[in-house]
Symmetry: C2
Subunit: 479 residues, 2 copies
């Protein structure tokens, strides 16, 4: 029992210190290790397996919409980064610079890509000539580097893994449609696969991507009431194609500039999964993304026939889901705690009495509910249970999110909510950046998005300055 | 017809200029584009899809042997790179150095990983304590950077994609077994999936990896008779664990140093596929790795019912293989040439007369053989044909390889072969590095490997110096 206690004690409780709880879970659930390179993390097998599952499912959905994968160099010459003015201003302060190759200084500095718009533009300029060459709908899976000062595993690290899609289109309408399509793909993925509800909307001018005409975003609410930007999709219009000279001849043989988009999701999503679903016993993984979906834990495994039966059950489960047997020599209690820490959706407990009675016990990670199950129905029962857990986890996260959305009609209400009620604040806004700046300075709250789907008019005036209201905005403290 | 001619004329013939033929194929088959970063390439959709197929199949085989994927930082602090003396000597002259993060100089330079032994050692030192923590069998898929002076697409580029496995074991025997296991996995993969025969053997001291105790290699023969090192597996013994201090307590509670291995394969394999199987019409892809395995090309597609039937056939094929329809408005001849250039294993020709007769024509890319096929059997016939092509491609490559292996018993024979007969040279060696150096200097020929499987004793003396022979060596000019 001493062992079990130690493992559980090792996690700070959420209510005591949410930030410390997060760090504890990330480390104790074996997702990452710190490396000797400051601000860069090592993604351990369980963490990486989650990322592989995310990749696999996202990539499948991308390809269904006609996306093709490519790979671009990891370096960007300084002169190339500088072609688009806003873009270089946004990124130059936080890039890593390569100045030497082997023993010799380089003629021109290269930055390690923080994002690859400039490389894709340079490429598209060479391969797009005619309307027949359009659209180009390319994506790459890679790592990028941003030299952040404050870092946290998954949420903000100097190097992170992501995908970045970059497209070129003949018309503004087609580019806009692709921008929206990918945002919706991201949102559906988060809701269906990560069991994480999101608000879909547009970023304000202040918060949009460096170089974009419009940035669309999905915003999720973490357990502590802070928002997390979980995916973005940008419409560049012709902001890049003009400085880069990406032109095609249209059907009338007229030269036109292309319209472009880009969109990305990152390993940050793993941080979101932790903070949306986790609890004081550790990680709680949505079944569709869990590296191990069900773990079989034998009780009194030294008794004759127990391990054999447990192995048989695991093998049967393994045919249709990701199943594992814990036959290590630890105590069952230790194994239960470890399975909970790692967030495995279902555990199967199986002892000599169960075997005699032809049954086993299924335990849900999310609710801890115990369910008796006839051994000969274990595959179908566990499969059903995984579906139920996936659905319930989404509903619970949605209920939590929905109960943490607060309407503010004036600055007094806004301030009171920001100081006392964690969650999203819905409030009208005049579209003046000065109000965003004031709110950020006073309350450390930023505009998350102007939602697409519930642009209600909840007040006639801006909640900050009292001038005529133009947009409903979701505000929040954010990661 | 002008179009078709242009496409074909665009490739230099192999016999005229093999190097130019290779470059032409790489570009015209749309595998890569050159980038604005010297020595770095852009991998285009068809090139990347080949890599994805390689990744998918290798990763599956890895996981069957218990490999777990992780992700390590892309940067290595200079002090960490320097811990193992031979290793830093081997790699320091060809790494890219990051000296600035954002606007500030770094306290310590970071190199962009050329390989990650040092990072894995630093990680293993922290996570390995007891014999229960062993073995560790980790792998990562990533890109690495080596600042080469002369570069060629896929074969030698400053940045390339690869996987690198790094393992730690309790005993020397276990490390040796893993080194051999992975080399055999690589060899089987090359032969079964890439249809490329390889020689399995050990590198000489001179040619082994910087820091390894032993390096095993697979060597393939390209169409021009040059060798290509296609995968390597290294046994480090305790060469890294001692300087890095990676110790575990064994069952008797004694501290022991771990035994380590590493093994890698790269995008270089795509270069090998091109140079083993390609011909004067372009790429020839083994079916198991081809992004498109069968392409349906309608003849007189404007005639009623032709496009519909072609689409229906493509859809039927698409259920069990990677099938595509070319319904573009190019001429059939142009489409045939394009499909050949891209190396698509089978094309299906389908015109109004075929449809009327209830048949189609299958054309093999590798032999150009045309086969009539009843339309209602097209799925099974194409599937069989793909298997046949895969098998025939391997047999043809093996016959070519085997007919380009020459035995040399003395230096006159060695010189004559090196100057006149492209291929591998089998010759005895005294194990003195001076002979390797002389052969390299005189003839630009290097020792490729000491083969595992045919260590015949073809002569009593070293073919270079005449001293007593110790090993049979495969020699060759190499990429």
């Amino acid at each position: 029992m001493a062992q079990e206690k130690k493992l559980v004690e090792a996690i700070t409780s959420m209510s005591e210190d949410f930030a410390q709880w997060y760090t504890d879970v990330v480390v104790k659930a074996d997702l990452i290790a710190y490396s000797s390179v400051k601000g860069c993390m090592i993604i351990k097998p369980d963490g990486y397996a989650i990322w592989e599952n995310i990749q696999h499912e996202l990539d499948r959905r991308f390809k269904e919409t006609g996306v093709q994968n490519v790979y671009m160099p990891m370096f960007i010459p300084e002169s190339l980064l500088q072609v688009e003015k806003d873009h270089v201003e946004g990124f130059a302060p936080e890039v890593a610079w390569v100045t030497h190759g082997g023993l010799s200084p380089l003629q021109e500095r290269l930055c390690v890509r923080p994002t690859s718009e400039t490389l894709f533009c340079d490429f598209y300029k060479d391969i797009i000539h005619s309307h027949r060459d359009l659209p180009k709908v390319y994506n790459q899976w890679c790592s990028v580097v941003r030299w952040e000062k404050e870092t946290r595993p998954f949420l903000r690290s100097r190097e992170f893994l992501w995908q970045e899609g970059h497209t070129a289109h003949a018309t503004a309408e087609e580019a806009e449609a692709r921008t929206v399509q990918m945002l919706n793909l991201y949102a559906d993925f988060c809701e269906e696969v990560l069991a994480m509800p999101v608000v879909r909307g547009q970023k304000t001018e202040k918060e949009k991507f460096a170089g974009a005409e419009a940035t669309y975003t999905i915003e999720a609410l973490m357990h502590d009431g802070k928002a997390l930007q979980s995916g973005t999709s940008h419409n560049f219009g012709q902001n890049f194609s003009k400085p880069f000279g990406i032109q095609y001849s249209d059907k009338n043989n007229q030269l036109q500039y292309v319209h472009q988009t880009s969109w990305g999701m990152t390993t940050r999503l793993i941080g979101a999964i932790i903070m949306v679903h986790g609890d004081d016993s550790g990680l709680v993984l949505p079944p569709r993304i869990a590296p191990t979906q069900v773990i079989v834990i034998p009780i009194q495994q030294k008794k004759e026939g127990v391990l054999e039966k447990a192995a048989e059950v695991t093998e049967r489960l393994g045919k249709t889901m990701r199943a594992k047997l814990d036959d290590s020599d630890k105590s069952p209690g230790w194994k239960f705690n470890e399975a909970e820490m790692r967030g495995i959706p279902v555990r199967v407990e199986l002892g000599p009495k169960d075997i005699e009675a032809g049954k086993c016990v299924l335990v849900r990670r999310d609710t801890r509910e115990k369910i008796e199950c006839p051994l000969d129905q274990v595959e179908t029962k566990v499969a059903e249970l995984l579906e139920t857990i996936q659905k319930d986890m989404f509903e619970r996260a949605k209920a939590h999110r929905d109960s943490h959305i607060w309407d503010a009609h004036n600055y007094a209400e806004f301030t009171e909510i920001a100081n006392n009620k964690p969650g999203f604040i819905r409030a009208m806004w005049c579209e003046d950046e000065a109000c965003e700046n004031k709110i950020k300075e006073d309350l450390a709250v930023t505009s998350r998005c102007m939602p697409f789907n519930d642009q209600e008019h909840i007040s006639d005036v801006c909640a900050c300055c009292g001038k005529p209201a133009k947009k409903l905005v979701y505000w929040g403290k954010a990661y």
